[in-house]
Amino acid sequence: MFSRFGLHTILGLLCLAVFFVGCSSKSEPQTSNTLRIGNGAEPNSLDPHVATTIAEAHIVNALFEGLIAASPHNDKDIVPGVASNWETNETFTRFTFTLRSDAKWSDGTPVVSQDFLNAYERLLNPNFGAANAAFLYDLKNAKAYNEDSLSNFEEVGVATPNPQTLVLTLENPTLHFLQKLKHWSWRPIHRPSIEASGGYHDIANNWATHAQFVSNGPYSLETWRRNERIVLIENPHYWDAQNVSISSLHFYPFENTQTEFRAFQSGQLDITEEIPSEQMGRNPESERNDPALATTYLLLNNESPRLDDIRLRQALSQAIDRKLLIRAIEKSGLPATRFTPGSMPDYEAGDFATNDQPEKVILTEPLQFLVSNRESSIALAEAMQEMWQRKLGIEIRIQNMEFKSLLARLDAGDYDLSYLAWHGDYIDPMAFLEIWQSDSHFNRARWKEPKFDALIKAATKTADPVDRFAKLAEAETLLGKELPIIPIFWKTKDYLISPKVKQWPASLIDLRSYKGIKLSQ
């Protein structure tokens, strides 16, 4: 009898458990003026000093406003944010910002110049260890302070003569400084609320997840349910609140683009982050392909003796039929003719070198091509392998691996070729060129070219915009001639958008203003 009872107890308890968990679920309220955005990976942090991914930036961008705001119309326009106006000296080394008096934090206190100074000190503090600290190196002495060779922050080029005035002194003439200021690492932060939840210089302080989260942008955080949804609601204290039309933004993380696509199809989402490649071009009424500042490229190991021959590098580049790759595999983007994307505004520079008769170069052993284990990367690598084999008789050995293992191999210099992408952080060719300087830590190609370094340096030192672009174009041409990296595609930002979303602005750097967006019912 007891044993029968045992079986029934187990089954009975199971039924009960199911009943109770079923009861505990609650349904989701849905308001009409809500924009539901597919947002890619789950954010790791919403602290603007910790956030590094674009998925995090999409949200940080709605929560925090910097001196300069994103334009709702044209991405490259400079639109006042917290600063109502500004002046610069003739050499573009000192910028004086006047903060608007009605700029407020979401707790109602005013945004003052000290909030910016506090933010910059935190990001640059050597004990904080912010991955994005280098974004502030434009400020005088900022690099020294961050590298701990200067201990007095007063020597860094930030001054607050009064609560409404912020003076930024720069290391070099920086004509594109206002463009750079749009990056989220330049946003102010609310020191008291950070200190209330832990150490100000502690990277593990979780202030940016709290309900008491204080921000100064058009939106403030309502809830963050991890891997489910982040809900932002209108910040009533925002100075321009009357021009904010959408009352709440819902950001949904999606690891799987197929899931995101189905969610869009079934009406659960208004905008997607991506389009699965087999769906490209099949939803013309909702598909958008905005120009983006992003280039995919072959990373060459410039220390490898096998790739020493410039003719080989040029031949490799020339043998790639980029149009075919786009048509057959990538389904999006444009064939790249230089590293800085063609969508860079007002920038003219030469394409990379081509010659009509690619030379046949004899290699004694096959080149090692490391790619990540993403399906599309493997397919691209195999297609290129075939093109090189057929046109040049060059043998390639492809090895695909998990991404962190790939990075470890690249950092150890144990490779010949790899396939990566670079996304511009601000709208200026410098965002693409400065990374190939000899001493840049982004320079994974291990390319060292004094002539290139000299050109970038000269462009950094000049206050003449024409001369500056000429120097950058010259550097670009040199990069295209030497080919330490081989540009493949200029990417586009491909996504699906519901017809009821109006005035969703395109953005070259995928950081847009949410202010002007409207929903038609």
Binding site: N44, T52, N146, I203, E228, A263, Q268, K404, L407
Partner: protein
């Protein structure tokens, strides 16, 4: 029974310690570190991060420190979620996986058990072949095929259910069904096998000889013995189900623990890898113990020992 439980828990300690040790050194042997990114971090910042998280200390110090953190439940900040610890992640996501796992188990039993019993009782008839072929397909078709198919059918075409999220009651249906169907197929096969064996036993012949109805023979006499293989399968299956399924959680965007297993490894988050692995190991040990107790309760021939 108490003595049995205490012995089992005592045996769990060296097992968990061995799992901890193996995982600890495997994680360190994996190429790439928690801070390596496509956009490389400056060397002095990398150095600061390594120092902050204690990666610069000698390995034996890290080994014992992390061990102590797991014994005392005092976890360090995670490298992938700087504001959180692995305790936060597990407390946050395990209830979701538990709920999904229990629902899926319910689906699996509600479908698998009757199908298996019926197939055994009507051996070599259509009622045996049809459901069993179906079960074979269920086992062969992975969840990443069934899941999207169900989502397309019930979510996109019929529009009855949300295809992603974990908000309302109805959001539980698709993931539980997907996960449950897979286990239902297993349970059906195990039940059929166990029942066939039981139905050939002498005591069944006796029961029939005494004039018990066929219904009573199958559901009362044979089922008690026939269900044994299912109960043994239950333990590991339950542990696997409630600790979350990466595939199902990704397909339906369910905020469960399963995805953290994979994500922690991919992002080389040492602390989170160790915590999730140990948590899973502990769950398996407990589930197996519960199953052993259940078997003794159901089978008078077994004793604790």
């Amino acid at each position: 029974m108490l003595r049995f439980i205490l012995i089992r828990l005592g045996q769990a300690i060296p097992i968990l310690l061995a799992i901890y040790t193996i995982t600890f050194f495997m994680v360190r042997a994996a190429p790439g570190g928690p801070f390596s990114q496509e956009r490389k971090v400056a060397p002095h910042i990398l150095e600061q991060q390594m120092e902050y998280y204690g990666f610069n200390d000698p390995t034996y110090i890290q080994y014992f420190r992390t061990l102590w953190q797991h014994i005392s439940f005092d976890f360090p900040p995670l490298t992938s979620y700087p504001g959180l610890t692995s305790k936060d992640i597990i407390l946050d996501t395990f209830p979701v996986s538990l709920e999904l796992g229990i629902l899926a188990m319910f689906v699996a039993i509600a479908i698998g058990l009757p199908v298996g019993i019926l197939a055994a009782a009507k051996k070599n008839s259509l009622l045996d072949y049809a459901p069993m072929s179906f079960a074979m397909i269920g086992i062969c078709l992975p969840t990443f095929v069934i899941g999207p198919l169900l989502a397309l059918l019930l979510g996109v075409w019929l529009g009855w259910l949300n295809i992603s999220g974990w908000f309302s009651w109805s959001d539980r249906i698709l993931p539980a069904l997907t996960l449950g169907l897979f286990y239902a197929a297993y349970i059906a096969r195990l039940t059929r096998g166990g029942m066939l064996e039981a139905l050939n036993m002498d005591y069944i012949r006796s029961a029939r000889a005494k004039g018990a109805s066929e219904r009573a023979v199958v559901l009362v006499h044979a089922l008690r013995g026939g269900i044994m293989p299912v109960i043994s399968f239950f333990g590991p299956a339950l542990a696997g189900l409630i600790s979350g399924s990466f595939v199902v959680e990704t397909i339906f965007q369910v905020p469960g623990l399963g995805r953290h297993f994979i994500q922690a490894a991919l992002s080389r988050d040492h602390s989170l890898i160790l915590s999730t692995v140990l948590f899973y190991a502990a769950l398996i040990i407990i589930a197996n113990m519960v199953v052993d107790i259940a078997q003794v309760m159901l089978n008078p021939k077994l004793r604790y020992g």
